[in-house]
């Protein structure tokens, strides 16, 4: 094997000029919400480091995380895979199969013990010794534990790996559990969402590569840079919420005018994610913008918090017209939302949403 090259060297060899490289660094910094002074640090990191091996395992899942990952526009998934990381194992994309594929896992442990990032999509089922998810003749749980023991850090992609997601919804027939329930001794970065936003996935990964450190995490293990604010806080329909202008049912006059979707079940007020800022598919749109409320898919246990079409708290606060002050309506509704969620007795969301600034209490 040739000597490992730095990411910068590889990018240069790919015909990327130094000027483009530096521009990439400042765009990366900006994309991560960092100041311009960080561009230099990213450039330095990329110039001095070889491509970090990434092992991407699939448990019980639907592969929406991989699909989301290849939708990333900045950076392009092709650039991430060819120039930024070394994606040495990923069932969905890798050329090798069978024992040639499994051999790569052995080689990775030998060559990069303690150095590689373990990216987990999906989760392990615990019932029946894990036979509900087998790969290479062994339970996924065993494979996960083996690779986790040798990795540097774990990225838990999506709501399956972070929280359990749909197969763990009641009654959780396979006893599927999130990664942190079975791996206790490695740092885990949760990137929830079903799926997560493509650029959030590549953003988290490139941050870890560029800075050689984990992103700052909130109390639940999510990167603060993307998950510290509610969709509602940055929603472009928020002025309609504040003005008491609501969609009462789908395709009504309010819907045609782009009013607030709170009453038709939007979970934006209790969901911590970056959809209302980063948006989806190259920043084109996001669920609320297209006319459907947020499902709350980045939140723990979002499948078991009642119908997607029930207003949070099911409190019917009638809009009183545009003349009502924003503070009155907005304030009343925000209070109602908090009560409604608390009634569901779901731990995480309550504490977050009743706090003005989540980071203060951490």
């Amino acid at each position: 094997m040739a000597a490992r090259e730095t990411l910068y060297e590889v990018m240069r060899q790919h015909g990327i000029t130094r000027r483009s490289f530096l521009k990439f660094c400042s765009l990366t910094a900006a994309g991560l919400g960092l100041g311009p002074e960080f561009a230099g640090k990213i450039a330095y990191a990329l110039e001095t480091k070889p491509r970090t091996p990434v092992i991407w395992l699939h448990g019980l899942e639907c592969t929406c995380c991989t699909e989301a990952f290849i939708r990333s526009g900045n950076p392009l998934a092709s650039d991430v895979v060819l120039s930024m990381i070394s994606l040495d194992y990923d069932d969905t994309l890798m050329a090798a199969a069978g024992h040639q594929a499994e051999e790569i896992l052995k080689q990775t442990i030998e060559k990069y013990d303690g150095e590689f990032i373990l990216a987990c999509e999906g989760n392990p089922p615990l019932n029946e010794d894990g036979v509900y998810c087998m790969t290479g003749g062994v339970p996924y749980l065993d494979k996960l534990k083996e690779m986790a023991a040798h990795c540097k850090a774990i990225v838990a992609w999506g709501s399956c790996a972070s929280w359990g997601c749909v197969q763990a919804a009641k009654p959780n027939p396979t006893r599927a559990v999130p990664i942190h329930k079975v791996i206790k001794d490695k740092p885990i970065v949760k990137v929830p969402g079903c799926p997560p936003i493509p650029e959030v996935m590549t953003g988290v990964l490139t941050y870890m590569i560029a800075f050689d450190q984990l992103p700052e995490l909130d109390r639940q293990g999510r990167p603060k840079m993307f998950y510290s604010q509610r969709l509602h806080d940055k929603c472009y329909r928020r002025p309609h919420f504040d003005a008491g202008q609501f969609v009462e049912e789908f395709d009504d006059e309010g819907a045609k005018k782009g009013y607030c979707l709170y009453k038709v079940g939007c979970k934006g007020p209790t969901t911590y994610n970056a959809c209302s800022t980063v948006e989806w598919n190259d920043g084109l749109s996001w669920p609320v913008k297209s006319g459907h409320g947020c499902l709350g898919c980045a939140e723990d246990d979002f499948w078991d918090k009642g119908s997607f079409y029930s207003a949070i708290g099911k409190l019917d606060v009638a809009p009183t017209g545009a003349e009502a002050t924003a503070d009155q309506i907005g304030g009343v509704l925000a209070g109602a939302a908090a009560i409604g969620v608390a009634a569901h007795a779901a731990g995480s969301a309550i504490s977050h949403m009743t706090r003005k600034q989540p980071e203060e209490t951490q």
Binding site: A2, H58, D91, G98, V166
Partner: protein
């Protein structure tokens, strides 16, 4: 077993060396294939095992039927949306909800976009490396590659300099010693037949397609807010149309429609100028590789899909017709009715489930029972948590064995095309005849691995062009004064009957998909899905009929049994989706309430 002939006419012999491929990569989910090869390394026995299940239908019990689409959409993120649309259809069928014309157009556009993107990604990123040698591309002459490209297509990215740049990129990547997703593969195998120039062209398009596929799905983002996993709505589509009134920017207006139109144009260009020419070029070097036909020359089926007219699910409305063909007799196309209890049935004799009455019975989804029963067969090798070889004479898969009137059927693009061809669909007949004539192949060449791959390519072009037709029809409908996208008259549960049953069915990119629902007291009483990869990857049934994957592998010679390229080729040609296929389960052996649909 030694040597037997199955009731559906395939010879099996398990006396030779056993070769195991697990994991089968470049698919969705977890699949295991075992084969026996004879002394000439020809496959004489094949065993397909679904390695996972998640239990979504049980999870749906007791929930609000209007929420079901979101749960079942998570059956699969590769074929995102395909379960969601059948879910809203089955609820609408049960509750008697008629969707507006615009909603029908929007759903058709979303599913056509799904076909286009999903098929494209399958061809380049999941399947191409079975035919294309990445390392061989390093020795290509960029000038000759340019000439090749320009001889087959008008695609503008075709200069020698362009191919030289890509080749240099690739060279550096390989020389870095970190091969990433290309590690430890089968480069240099004698099974690869393309000259270096064709390999370089294909690898270049692998990268271009990876960058382009994310554009196609923006059609989902416009109508459903995001992709993967866009949003759907019982009763229509969640997006409103407001072309010309106050607040129009908050809904679908000319800005969004222009965007969709532009994506359609780009998609047609990419498919017709890159995908189809590549498909023909690659196929022309593998014309001798006529293996992998399996069931395709015998039994194929399509439920039909893409209704031109909202709420009309029949061949007068379907752009892709429904029908079933048995024993290769193209002169008779049977009607398929997912509601008929005699037609679609599932068997579990070789699946890790048990039926309490007759273990060999075939049950319609209405009467489906799912009791898990995991056990290794008496001749299996290894242990429960370290499986070396399965015993196909016992239970060996988490997939049930669905059958149509007792027959194992192949579903998917090739099956749809054969049905459409036999039904006399002019567009599709013209496409198929054109391709066969370009490649100088007889119609029987369709019944093969390459035929399956070619049909998928033709269907991608069909879907991309159909998007334009549907878009134009939608604009005409809006112009005529109809801006409705959702029918909310039966949204509230108070308007529903106490007990209702419905079925939603259609064609996912991978084949025939049906969802059966039973709603009682405004909650889901039962929910059943029978999905494309369960048909194709099914294990043997009670009579010993083998499924489409198993049948397609038989008779294929392997260049080197240590390198499962030929197995990957044929299995990939079906585009397996195992998360979809393995879905039904009840917790701890609890019996599912039977579903009755009418």
């Amino acid at each position: 077993m030694a040597s037997i002939t199955t009731p559906n006419g395939f010879n099996l012999d398990d006396s030779g060396q056993r070769v195991v491929v697990d994991p089968v990569t470049r698919i969705e989910g977890h699949l295991r294939i075992e084969v026996n090869v004879d002394e000439n390394n020809v496959i004489q026995n094949a065993v397909s095992t679904g390695n996972m299940w998640r239990g979504l239908e049980v999870i749906l019990k007791g929930r609000d039927p209007r929420d079901a689409w979101a749960f079942v959409e998570r059956i699969c993120g590769v074929c995102t949306g395909v379960h969601a649309i059948q879910s809203v259809r089955c609820v609408e069928d049960a509750l008697g909800i008629q969707i507006p014309t615009n909603a029908n157009h929007i759903r058709n556009l979303m599913m056509l976009a799904q076909y286009t993107q999903d098929h494209l990604v399958h061809f380049y990123h999941l399947h191409a490396l079975d035919w294309v040698d990445v390392v061989s591309a390093l020795s290509a002459d960029p000038k000759a590659t340019s000439q090749l490209q320009q001889s087959i297509s008008n695609w503008p990215k075709s200069s020698p300099g362009y191919f030289s740049d890509v080749q240099n990129k690739l060279k550096r990547f390989v020389e870095s010693g970190q091969l990433g997703i290309f590690s430890n593969a089968y480069w240099g195998s004698p099974a690869y037949k393309l000259p270096p120039e064709a390999n370089l062209m294909a690898v270049t398009h692998y990268l271009e397609a990876l960058d382009f596929q994310k554009e196609i799905v923006k059609i989902h983002t416009v109508f459903g807010g995001r992709n993967p996993h866009p949003n759907w709505l019982v009763g229509g589509a969640p997006c409103s149309i407001n072309m010309n009134d106050t607040g129009g920017v908050g809904a679908l207006n000319m800005y969004w429609m222009n965007l969709v139109s532009d994506i359609i144009t780009q998609s047609i260009q990419f498919v017709d100028q890159v995908y189809i020419p590549d498909l023909k070029a690659i196929a022309s070097f593998y014309k001798d590789w006529g293996f992998g036909g399996g069931l395709s020359s015998k039994n194929v089926m399509s439920y039909g899909d893409f209704p031109r007219f909202a709420n009309q699910f029949d061949n007068d409305s379907f752009m892709l017709p429904q029908g079933a063909i048995l024993n290769g007799d193209l002169s008779t196309v049977y009607d398929v009715d997912p509601r008929d209890p005699e037609q679609v049935q599932e068997f579990v004799t070789h699946s890790w489930y048990d039926y309490p009455g007759d273990p060999n019975a075939g049950l319609h989804p209405w009467d489906g029972i799912t009791e898990p029963k995991f056990e290794l067969g008496p001749n299996a090798k290894g242990t429960k948590t370290k499986i070396e070889a399965h015993d196909e004479n016992a239970k060996y898969s988490w997939l049930k064995a669905p059958r149509w009137r007792g027959n194992a059927m192949e579903v998917g693009p090739l099956a749809r095309y054969i049905v459409a061809y036999a039904r006399g669909n002019e567009e599709i007949t013209e496409q198929v005849d054109g391709l066969l004539s370009d490649l100088d192949l007889p119609v029987t060449a369709l019944f093969s691995t390459l035929g399956r791959t070619a049909a998928r390519g033709l269907e991608t072009s069909w879907a991309a062009h159909k998007m334009r037709t549907v878009f134009d029809e939608m604009m005409a409908n809006i112009k005529a004064g109809d801006s409705a996208t959702a029918n909310m008259t039966k949204w509230e549960p108070e308007t529903w009957p106490e007990d209702a049953k419905g079925v939603g069915y259609g064609e996912a990119p991978r084949g025939s998909l049906g969802h059966w629902i039973h709603i009682k007291d405004a909650k889901i009483e039962n929910y059943q899905c029978v999905v494309p990869s369960t048909w194709n990857a099914s294990p043997r049934d009670h009579q010993g009929n083998i499924g489409a994957y198993e049948a397609a592998l038989l008779g294929t010679p392997m260049a080197d049994p240590e390198q499962p390229l030929e197995i990957l080729r044929t299995i990939h040609s079906f585009d397996p989706c195992l998360a979809c296929a393995t879905h039904v389960i009840s917790p701890d052996g609890e019996e599912l309430t039977s579903v009755k649909v009418r």
